[in-house]
């Protein structure tokens, strides 16, 4: 269904949803990040984009798998720790970030379902905020089958019409959210609908960055494993983990046992994010490292997003949010890299 919501009544909507856990972008020292909201008045959707995408809520950087202990004589005691999630709502999700969740869904779903991921995901309703103006100068969602109004992965999408939001519910969950607060919503006028269309057309024009004929890239990459391009493009890489940790679609993780006490044995098995840009990511205990240098790690990042993933899931593993470009300390620009891939040897 389609509705409109006066901006001033937005906090009330959030208040009415108080039976849910509410997450929304919060500003601290000019940085926006998703946080658990106690006070609905605090929710402010007048923001560009968050440093970390909602990925950090559904696939947290640290996840406890299980706890083990050998306190009693009869051997090791192991207890699985499952997240017990209340129904939650994330407000103000940018379409690109919502789309990225549809990608991680594929990874954590399929033949094997990752209970930790899904126990949160299933409880999660996403209320999106479309991008009337690009949240980042490096946005390029259009290139990767996205758009400032993409509905993928969202339950509700809101569009800023100045003094009100245009609200479209996209799923049962979404309708639920709206209907629980019927009174606040009005039916959109024809003008509202016109305004929406106008804003949408304008918005697309505002997105300046793109990769031309990206279709050529996946097949091209197939022949580029040994290309010298990777050395050239990775010269300035400092092997930090920003591009991947901030990426809404990167999903690699590591599993470690954290021992609190050795005698008696007591500890936790913990999953943490891992990062293909770190030298130890592929380090073998033998000392052999199949990806020994920056070049091979940059290649991996590009190949994974624009070839392996495409082959497997028929999607780019990138939603054009531009975080890796804006935050790279040395100005490595995935768009430029892709351009060079496309033109390589031509």
């Amino acid at each position: 269904m389609e509705k409109v919501l006066a901006k001033k009544s937005f906090p009330q909507w959030v208040k009415i949803l108080s039976s849910y856990k509410i997450f929304a972008p919060v500003e601290k020292e000019n940085l926006w990040n998703y946080e658990l909201i106690e006070n609905p008045e605090k929710v402010n959707l007048d923001y560009l984009n968050t440093v970390l995408s909602p990925k950090k809520i559904i696939f947290p950087q640290r996840e406890i798998y299980l706890e083990f202990s050998a306190e009693n004589e009869d051997g090791l005691k192991v207890e699985e720790v499952l997240p017990d999630e209340k129904p939650s709502v994330i407000f103000g999700v940018r379409p690109c970030d919502a789309k990225s969740l549809t990608l991680t869904d594929k990874v954590f779903g399929g033949d094997f379902e990752d209970i930790y991921y899904w126990s949160r995901r299933k409880q999660m309703a996403l209320v999106g905020l479309s991008c009337s103006t690009p949240p980042s100068p490096n946005c390029f969602c259009l290139t990767v089958d996205g758009s400032p109004f993409s509905k993928d992965g969202l339950d509700v999408i809101m569009t800023d019409l100045g003094d009100k939001y245009f609200i479209e519910t996209l799923t049962k969950k979404g309708e639920q959210l709206v209907s629980t607060a019927k009174a606040l919503f009005k039916t959109p006028t024809e003008k509202d609908k016109k305004d929406l269309l106008k804003i949408q057309q304008e918005a697309k024009k505002l997105i300046k960055r793109q990769v031309e004929s990206i279709k050529k890239i996946p097949p091209k990459l197939k022949e580029m494993f040994d290309a010298s391009l990777w050395d050239e493009e990775s010269m300035s890489c400092i092997r930090c983990g920003i591009c991947t940790y901030l990426c809404p679609t990167c999903h690699c993780f590591d599993i470690n046992d954290e021992v609190d006490s050795h005698s008696p044995l007591k500890g936790k098995r913990i999953r943490t994010w891992d990062n293909c840009q770190f030298p130890d990511f592929t380090m073998h205990s033998s000392g052999h490292n199949p990806r020994p240098d920056k070049a091979s790690r940059l290649r991996q990042r590009i190949m994974h997003k624009f070839q392996y993933f495409v082959e497997r899931y028929k999607n780019y593993q990138c939603t054009g949010c531009g975080r890796c470009i804006s935050q790279c300390p040395v100005g490595i620009d995935i768009i430029e890299v892709l351009d060079k891939v496309r033109d390589y040897g031509a």
């Binding site: 020292e29 000019n30 940085l31 440093v51 970390l52 950087q61 640290r62 100068p137 490096n138 010269m235 300035s236 400092i238 092997r239 930090c240 983990g241 920003i242 940790y245 901030l246 590591d254 470690n256 954290e258 913990i270 943490t272 994010w273 990062n275 770190f278 030298p279 130890d280 380090m283 205990s285 033998s286 000392g287 920056k294 470009i325 804006s326 935050q327 790279c328 300390p329 040395v330 100005g331 490595i332 620009d333 768009i335 430029e336």
Partner: protein
């Protein structure tokens, strides 16, 4: 005033007569205002070079990569690398020389003086100009900075948008170089540790609350250590996996690897990481503040290093990055070192 054309001339000269392998400098980046490092090996490419108050990176960082490349190569090209350095960067070079990581012959130093200015602080700029897109930003003769946006030029005293560390700079021109561009205008900040007072003046509890919040933000992307020219260890003591493993690494050596901290990005472990990094930079950090600049969560990492820089100065009269022949801070002592804290 450093003239870009002179800089290009110097660079192309050394490239022409093949004195250097390549020249590391700054170029325009696709990502808005801030430039990107560039590695130039053809004289004609010097046209890519730029020089303006956004040239913030400490390019000495890349000597570590060069060193590793050299170690791998069978017949390495022994020629030096051409390197564009500011005053602060040059002090980093001195530390690397002091620690024998590089030798003087490995690098041809093209020094550029910041004179009375320095480099800009992205955040200060963002505050001042909001979302107005900045087209150009340059020094003018009188140590002012001119910022050009679509609605024209704005002129302001350099100090207004200079990075904090530039306002506390101890070496506004290179302390070591093969060729120097710009004037050796000596400038001494009246208090090189001004910025610390903000936190020093807080109560113990307030200080802890501050750092607790800051260090809790850390996601351990390790950008701070990756960008640091002093963090050149192949394997950091806080890494839980052996990186530096070769055929002759013994099982014992692998087994010796200690888990000083867990991979979990929680306060206690983040603290161990940042504390050890700070301690290991004591007497070595030259305050290029790159660690702080690159942090995606804006953790004020610089303060930790700055605090120890202050301690080194006040307790041991030690200044990092000026004398390559002096033993390092923690590898030396004076009989009169203070011990009033010892029972």
């Amino acid at each position: 005033m450093v003239n870009l054309e002179d800089l290009k001339k110097e660079a192309s000269a050394v490239l022409k007569d093949e004195k250097v392998k390549y020249v590391i400098g700054y170029q325009k980046s696709s990502n808005g205002l801030m430039p990107a490092p560039v590695f130039i090996n053809k004289p004609e490419d010097v046209e890519k070079l730029i020089w303006n108050p956004t040239c913030i990176h400490n390019l000495t960082r890349f000597l570590t990569d060069e060193r590793q490349r050299k170690i791998k190569e069978k017949h390495p090209d022994e020629r030096p690398v051409g390197l564009i350095v500011k005053g602060c960067d040059s002090r980093a070079l001195v530390v690397l020389l002091q620690e024998k990581l590089i030798s003087r012959e490995d690098v041809y130093i093209i020094g550029v003086s910041c004179e009375n200015a320095g480099v800009v602080d992205e955040k200060k700029l963002a505050k001042k100009f909001k979302d107005k897109k900045i087209e150009r930003i340059e020094f003018d003769e009188k140590d002012n900075i001119v910022v050009t946006t679509k609605d024209g030029k704005t002129k302001m005293a350099a100090s207004e948008i200079l990075a904090e560390r530039c306002l506390e700079c101890k070496a506004n021109f290179p302390v070591i170089y093969d060729v120097l561009l710009g004037e050796k205008t000596k400038r001494q900040p009246e208090n090189p540790f001004q910025s610390l007072e903000k936190i020093e003046s807080l109560s113990e509890k307030e200080r802890w609350d501050f750092w607790k919040e800051q260090l809790s933000k850390c996601i351990r992307c390790y950008a701070c250590r990756s960008v640091c020219p002093m963090c050149y260890c192949d394997e950091c003591v806080v890494d839980t996996i052996n990186f530096a493993v070769t055929a002759d690494t013994t099982a014992e050596e692998k087994a010796q690897k200690i888990k000083w901290l867990e991979k979990s990005p929680v306060l206690s472990e983040n603290f161990v990481y940042h504390f050890i990094r700070a301690i290991h930079l004591a007497g070595r950090c030259i305050d290029c503040a790159e660690c702080e600049r690159v942090c995606p969560l804006d953790i004020p990492i610089r303060f930790l290093n700055k605090k120890l820089e202050k301690a080194a100065k006040e307790l041991f009269d030690y200044d990092a990055g000026f004398d390559p022949d002096h033993p390092s801070l923690v590898a030396s002592f004076r009989d009169e070192d203070p011990e009033d804290f010892i029972r």
